[in-house]
Assembly symmetry: C2
Homo-oligomer: 282 residues x 2
């Protein structure tokens, strides 16, 4: 596995592979890899000739007071894991490599960005759209893989690609979970023992909400209330939001129908966790 830190090195790798007619799969990450990331790399491995993984903690998508500085990093371990998952090229740029001078372009995401996490993290998805645009241009992938745990991020990126005609197929990959149902996340390391034991209730609450909808309760307010009540009494965390929206448009619903997302965010002492279920009702 080739590890590159600079854009000229990366472009040289990409150009060589493109000229040889090889299909490139991209897995953008912020590092501190877990099985979720590795499942993306493995899927990319199966579906492409070449797999490029990027590890970049993007300051543009962190707000003031968020965890940019203390976001967990372990490059040595990440390199081994990426290699074991079949990554061909690992791009690990410094912040100065990605943002050498002030950009003359600001990208603003509307619609899909101002709900759910976007409402709590203003500018977050603008930062995501910008870095994904840059990574797409730098790696020229045929396919790019994103985890569906960040379902809103996936909706934003799918909308970005559609709105600006990127020649990239974006693929959402199912969330990988611990045995007790907790979604794998780099931020799980922030949890205390007690919090860790209660965190699986996040997914359980969402399952309860979806089952309620599937059994015939169609009022979004009631579905959200039930999910919220369960979280309040079981998760031992502050509930940031519980939302039921159309997917991927993320529009409010008058009643539960079609393709939807039930999503929630909760806050423990040092970690904010998100999870969701995307489901269909006809």
């Amino acid at each position: 596995m080739k590890v590159v830190k600079t854009i000229p090195e990366l472009k040289e790798f990409v150009q060589t592979e493109k000229k040889a007619g090889r299909q490139i799969g991209l897995v953008p990450t912020m590092g501190f890899l877990h099985e979720g990331h590795l499942s993306l790399a493995e899927k990319a491995r199966k579906e492409n000739d070449i797999v490029i993984m990027t590890i970049f903690v993007n300051p543009l998508q962190f707000g003031p007071g968020e965890d940019f500085e203390r976001y967990p990093r372990d490059l040595e371990r990440d390199e081994k894991l990426a290699a074991s998952a079949g990554v061909d090229c690992l791009f690990v740029p410094e912040v100065e490599e990605m943002y050498p001078q002030p950009s003359i372009i600001t990208m603003t995401v509307t619609g899909r960005a101002d709900k759910l996490c976007g409402e709590k993290r203003p500018g977050h998805f603008d930062g995501v759209a910008t870095v994904v645009t840059k990574l797409f241009h730098l790696t020229e992938p045929d396919k790019a893989y994103f985890g569906l745990k960040d379902a809103q991020q996936f909706a934003v990126i799918a909308g970005l690609v559609e709105s600006l005609n990127f020649p990239v197929e974006v693929i959402g990959v199912e969330t990988i979970r611990e045995e007790d149902g907790l979604a794998k996340s780099s931020r799980n390391v922030y949890l205390t023992e007690d919090e860790r034991s209660k965190a699986p209730h996040l997914q359980k609450a969402l399952q309860l909400g979806v089952q309620t909808a599937e059994r015939g309760k169609k009022s979004p307010a009631e579905i959200k209330q039930l999910t919220n009540d369960y979280l309040q009494s079981h998760a031992g965390a502050a509930v940031d939001y519980v939302e039921l929206l159309s997917y991927p448009e993320l529009e409010p619903l008058e009643k539960a129908h079609g393709k939807m997302i039930l999503a929630a965010a909760i806050k423990y002492s040092k970690a904010r966790l998100i999870d969701n279920i995307i489901f269909n009702l006809n």
Copy 2:
């Protein structure tokens, strides 16, 4: 020459050429072709295997009250001219093909966009950046060609490419002029006979300003005043602006030095004309 109107047809053409390893040169235009556009196509022809020209009058870059509706169009003539200049594929989409639904992404250009024409045409360069982004993604060019008559547009596009790491080399091509010095422009057809006879004074005024700087006058205010005075007494038009700025950054200067642009815009009864000289003083 292949003429395509839809994105799927265009992408099929591009994919075939890319797979064959052919280098693509792109010439984006708004049509009503003149020798300026053809000189771009001819340069693209020399430097690439395949030349794609696009003709699209982009509503996003026209402000309210501007000439979007009456912008001159003559597709039949354009097709002949493009073919004669060696264009391989002419992409002529309808507005609905380029903007089928509201975009979830807004691109805003800062710095280089709020001077010169940008100040008079708010949002104009945001529209340019958006459509150029879409056209770059749709045609995946190795090189893209733009006329330096629109020097600010070129500065914005160069900044766009740099800021977002587009894998495209952008090439600015010298302005093509009538024998009397008037820059070729699709909007010249709007001029009355009397206006047409006076319009070459736009370039003459700029030459006068540059000569003044080259002869030692370093005060931007004086250089602009001289240029402006000449325009007022010779061009028979309202002077929209005369500006001397660094190029391509478009920053104001304390004194004339380095790479600069002297640019002006004037308004006749039905046409607003722009012209510029990019020059160096050490």
